[in-house]
Every structure is written in C-alpha cells, then in structure tokens.
Amino acid sequence: VSAELRARVLAAAAAETSPTRADLRRRNLLIGLVAAASGLGAFAIFAALLSEGHLLRLGGEVAPHQYLERPIGLVATSVGGALVVATTAVWLALRRGRSMLGRSRRRLLCGAALIPITLLAWKVGSSIAFGASMVAWPERPGERCLALSLAVAAGPLLSFLAIRRSAPVQPALNGAVIGFAAGAFAWVAADLWCPVAYVPHVLLGHVLPLGVLAGAGALLGRALLAPRSR
C-alpha cells in the first residue's frame, strides 16, 4: 500500500467529521424522541379528526340494538402484549448483536415471520380469553385502522432507518424488519383506538399495514442502508 494512498485516505477522513460513539448515542436518543413524538402526534391528530378526540374506544353500536363492549382488562392485556412484541421487534431491528454485520438472515427472517403472527394471535387470543365477541362491524371494514397505522408508523420507520444508518449485508431484509418494528408500534396505537376484533377487519386494518410497512422498509433499506460507491 503506497504512502501516497495512505496520506490521501487519512487526509480525506480528517477533512470529514464523523460522530463518535457518545455523539451517536445522543443523536440516536434525539431521533428516538422525534420518532415517539411523530407517532404520538399522528395518533392524536388522527383520533381527534375521526373520533372526537377519543384515544381509547371501548365499543359502540355495531348494528341496530347490537352493541360491542370491550372490557378495560382486555384493552390492557391486548395493548400490553402488543407493546412487548413491539419492543422486542425494535430490539431485533436496531440492535446488531455482537457483530458489525448485524443479525443472521435466519434470525431476521424468523423475526419478520413471527412479529405479525404473534401480534395477530395475541389480539385474537386475548379477545377470546376475555369472552369479547368478535362480531363484524359492517361500517368498520378496516380502512380507517389501515390509515391510522400507516400515519402513526411513518415517522418511526424513517427514524429507525436513520438510527440503523448502514447495513452492508442484507440491507433490504434489515429494512423490512425495521418496517415490521415501526408497524408493531402502530399496532399498539390501533389496538388502543379500535375495539373491533373481527378477524377480517384485523387482517385488513391491522395486519395489512405491517406488510405495507415491511415492503416500504425493504425498498428504503436497499436505497438508504446499503453502502454506495461514489
């Protein structure tokens, strides 16, 4: 390796500032706060626009003289479980384990498969356990939950990609898992807001956004996380 090349590389590095570990920790904390604020903000605005400011909805009249009631214990169980899954998903998406190359393909694929399955199973399982009727609500096919989930997850998705910064191996798959993680947090918000546990509604309004966000994450991951030659 020539001395000229060495001098050139060292000079180029010296001319470009880069964050140290402490700087990056502060920056990531700030990005995390922005992600939380954007998610909560989108949730509050959406709820204010669509349901008179009710962030927590326990039921309603699904048909003439037929009411859907969601006990508060069910809300706590369902939302609490989803929060645990969402936190685990963020840990999987943003922590790289002990290697700079991130998690193995197998682990990422397992995570990508398990996140939506676990969330769906928990939602349906807790509704059954509490004896809540999973009745159809014809006026609520799920498009509002779909929109809510996408609006809530947009900020966290971009923030998580900014925190991850780079993935030289499997950038698209890493991006997809980041999309699932952002979607899992949106699931928590949708679960808080939406009393409907009717499975077709859950698939359209709650599970589909996870897929959309994973697809968006994969595309963004390939574009933003993969190192590019200049």
Partner: protein
Amino acid sequence: MANPGLDGADAAMERYARGDAAAFADVYDAIAPRLLDFLRRATRHASAAEDLMQQTLLHIHRARGSFIPGAPVMPWAFAIARRLVTDSARRRRVERRLFSETPADDDWMTYDPTAATAAADDLLHAHRLAWRIQQRLDALPELQRNAYRLLRQEGLSLKRAAEVLGTSVSAVKLRVHRASVALRAALREAEEPA
C-alpha cells in the same frame, strides 16, 4: 490463533469509536493491505481498487460511532468493500448501456491476456494456466466467486465468510465446493495436451 494485526485493528477501532482521532491511522495500517489485496482481486484494476479502498475506509470512518465494542473489524470492512464493488460494477454497466458508443477504456472488469508477456515456455504455460483459472473464476456465479475469494484467497473462516455474505456456513461450504470443482475441471482441461 490470534492475529496481532487484526486484534490491533479491533482495539484501534474501539479507540477510534471512542473519539481518539489518531487511532484511524492504526486502523488503516492494520486493515488496508488485506483490503486492497481483496479489492485488487475483485476488480483487477489498481486505481479502481485504491478508489474503492478509500471509499470503504471513509465508510468505516463515518460509521465509527456505531462500532460495537469487541466486534471484529475485518469482516465488516470486507462486507462494505464487497457491497461497493458490486455497486460500482452495476453503475459501470448502467453507464456502459447509456453511453454504449463510448469506447470502454476504463473496463477494469475484463482481463487483458496480452499483459502476460514471457519468453520462457514454462512461464508462458503458467500464465496461460493462471489466465484459464482466472477466466473460469470470473465465469462462476457471483455467489460462488465471492465465497471462494473470501475463504480461499482472503483466508476468512467459514463463519466470518458466512457473515460477510449474509448466508449460512453450510451455504458457503456448498458454494466453495462448487467453485473448487469448477476450477479443478478448468485446471485439468488446461493441463491436457491440445
């Protein structure tokens, strides 16, 4: 067995991540020779390899804050370099398609057999053999070629090569085995009298 150079690179990278600016020179000294060797083999063009090595090291420089304490630097550097080689080759292909009228004077992905000039028969034979092997290596599917280079030419362990390639150890074994079979066949063909 511990490699003092690479262990030194890991320690230097850790110091660099913490903010010791002078440690980057140590990181460079520890990884640049192997990295440049890898890039020269991958591109077979000296200036392109140097350019990509600079980009790889600058990428490491920019991402120093995200360095995980105790993580090895070399597989990370190889993974970035490999990605940059692929991206650079893709970019060149696109440029070539867009400007197909322009002569490809910067075509560093093809080998120039006229470069091998030797008077002695045995040297000529060796060059021909190397050329045949290189041609066969280039003709291998990219997955097999990368696995072979990392394992056989760069000396990475199966586990590290699997990490760099983002696949399993058994997949790397299979790719290297297939590459070795193809190269052995090419060697036999070259050795047979015409």
